[in-house]
C-alpha cells in the first residue's frame, strides 16, 4: 500500500496536520493498516521534498504544521485515481511459499499443513463476518434514525475494506480446498517407473516425490 498516495488523497480534501492524517487514514480503512505518526511525517517530508505538498504556514500553538497539496501534488493524485494498481509484480505470500515448500521438503504432512491453515482462515473469516454484521446493523439503524446526517460515509469505506478481506479469506479457503484435491489426485495418479538416469533427465519434469526411496503405486502412503 502506498502511504504516499493515501496521504495525498486525504490532503486533496483540504489541509491537515500529521496526526489528523493518521487518524483519517485509519478511520477510513477501519484501522486495518495502522500508521504511526513517524511514518506519516517521514512521508510528508518526502512529499515536500518532491514538491507534492507544502506547509500552509508556521506551526500552531500546539506546534502542529498543516500541509496542503501543491499543483503537482494534485496532478499526481489525479493520476493515481485513473491508473490501475500494479498487479505485475507478485508479492511474496508466506502461505503459498509454505505449501510450495511443503510438497518439496521430505517428511512434511502437506494435508495437515493445509487443514491447519484452513481452520485458521475460517476463524478469521468468521471474525470478519461478525464485524461486517455489526457494520451492516449500524447502517440499518442509521437508515431509520440517522445519527450523523450528512457525515461522510466512513461505514461504507470500512464495509468495503472488510468485504475485500472476506473475499480474500474465502479465496484462500477455496485455494486450500483445491490444494487438497490436487494432492489427493496426485496420490492416486499412477507413477511412471523410473528407468535410467538419462531417460529421467530427458523425461523432463521431476516431482516432489521422485526422490522417495521406495516408490509405491500410489502416493497415499506418504501421508
Amino acid at each position: 500500500m502506498s502511504v504516499k498516495q493515501g496521504l495525498m488523497a486525504l490532503l486533496a480534501e483540504g489541509p491537515m496536520y500529521g496526526a489528523q492524517l493518521r487518524a483519517e487514514f485509519e478511520e477510513r480503512t477501519g484501522g486495518t493498516w495502522p500508521l504511526n505518526v513517524g511514518q506519516v511525517y517521514t512521508t510528508l517530508s518526502r512529499l515536500e521534498r518532491d514538491g507534492f505538498v507544502e506547509a500552509t504556514g508556521e506551526a500552531d500553538a500546539e506546534g502542529r504544521i498543516s500541509y496542503r497539496l501543491t499543483e503537482a501534488g494534485a496532478a499526481e493524485n489525479a493520476t493515481w485515481w485513473t491508473t490501475p494498481v500494479d498487479r505485475d509484480s507478485t508479492p511474496r505470500d508466506e502461505l503459498t511459499i509454505k505449501l510450495a515448500l511443503a510438497v518439496t521438503v521430505p517428511g512434511v504432512d502437506v494435508r495437515a499443513v493445509a487443514q491447519t491453515q484452513r481452520t485458521a482462515t475460517l476463524k478469521h473469516l468468521h471474525d470478519l463476518t461478525r464485524l461486517k454484521q455489526q457494520v451492516v446493523a449500524r447502517q440499518r439503524e442509521d437508515e431509520t434514525e440517522p445519527s450523523h446526517p450528512g457525515a461522510p460515509d466512513h461505514d461504507l469505506a470500512w464495509l468495503l475494506v472488510l468485504e475485500n478481506l472476506i473475499f480474500s479469506a474465502e479465496a484462500e479457503v477455496r485455494w486450500l480446498d483445491h490444494v487438497e484435491t490436487r494432492l489427493h489426485r496426485e496420490a492416486l495418479r499412477p507413477r511412471p517407473q523410473p528407468t535410467t538416469d538419462g531417460e529421467r533427465a530427458a523425461g523432463g519434469a521431476r516431482t516432489a516425490y521422485d526422490d522417495e526411496p521406495e516408490p509405491t503405486t500410489t502416493r497415499g502412503a506418504r501421508r
Binding site: L122, L125, L128, V173
Partner: protein, 241 residues
Amino acid sequence: MRYPSLILDDVTRVHGSGETAVRALAGVSLDVMPGELVAVMGPSGSGKSTLLNLAGGLDKATSGRVVIEGEDLTKMTPKGIAQLRRQRVGFVFQDYNLIPSLTAAENVSLPLELDGERPRKARLLARQTLDLMDLRELADRFPDQMSGGQQQRVAIARALVGTRRLVLADEPTGALDTHTGEEVLRVLRERCDDGVAGLLVTHEARHAAWADRVVFLRDGVIVDSTGPAGSAEDLLDAAPA
C-alpha cells in the same frame, strides 16, 4: 441446565452390505446447542447430506444415537419419529420447495395444519412468524410473485413456525446471488441468536463463516472443527432462556 437441541453420538451409517457396503458416516459425534448455528463443510461425497438426513430423522443410523430435544430417535417407532419431525424439526432446502398454489402465509401454516392444528390458529401462528421475521408484506404473495431470496426467507419461516426450534438447512443459499444469500443467512443467524438451534450444510466458506462453529467432514469422518468460540458453559450462558 440446558441440553443440546441435537445430539449425534458416535453415529455410523452404512449403505448396502457385504462387499458393496459404503460407509457414508463413521462414528460422527456432534452436539448443537440452542442458540447455536453449526456449519458442516466438506467435499462432495463426504457425508454432509447423510449427516443432515440422520439429524432430521429422514434416515436411520446403522449404529449410534441421534437425540432431538431429549428424544432418542433410535428408540422410537417410525410413526413417533415422523411426529417428532413435524413438531420439532424444520428443513430448508436449496430450491425452497414452496407450494406454488399457496400464498406465503398458507405455505408457512401448512406444516401446522398437517400436524392437526386448526386452520385458523395455524394461519395466525404463520402470520406471527412472518411478522417476527419482517416478512409481513410477503404474506399474501404467491411464490411466483416473490424473488428467490424472499422465497427462501419464507421457507425459513415455514421451517420455524409453531414449536420447532431446530432448523436443518441444506445449501440454503445455493441458488441465490451473493447479496441475497447473505440476507438469507442473516435471517437464519437472527433466528439462532433468538435461541433456535441450526445445522447448516454449505460448501461456501463465506456462508459457513456466519456459523458459531464449522465442522469438516471427509470420507464420513469429522476431521476438524473450528470451535466453539467459547466453552460449553459460555455457550449455555449466551443462549436465551
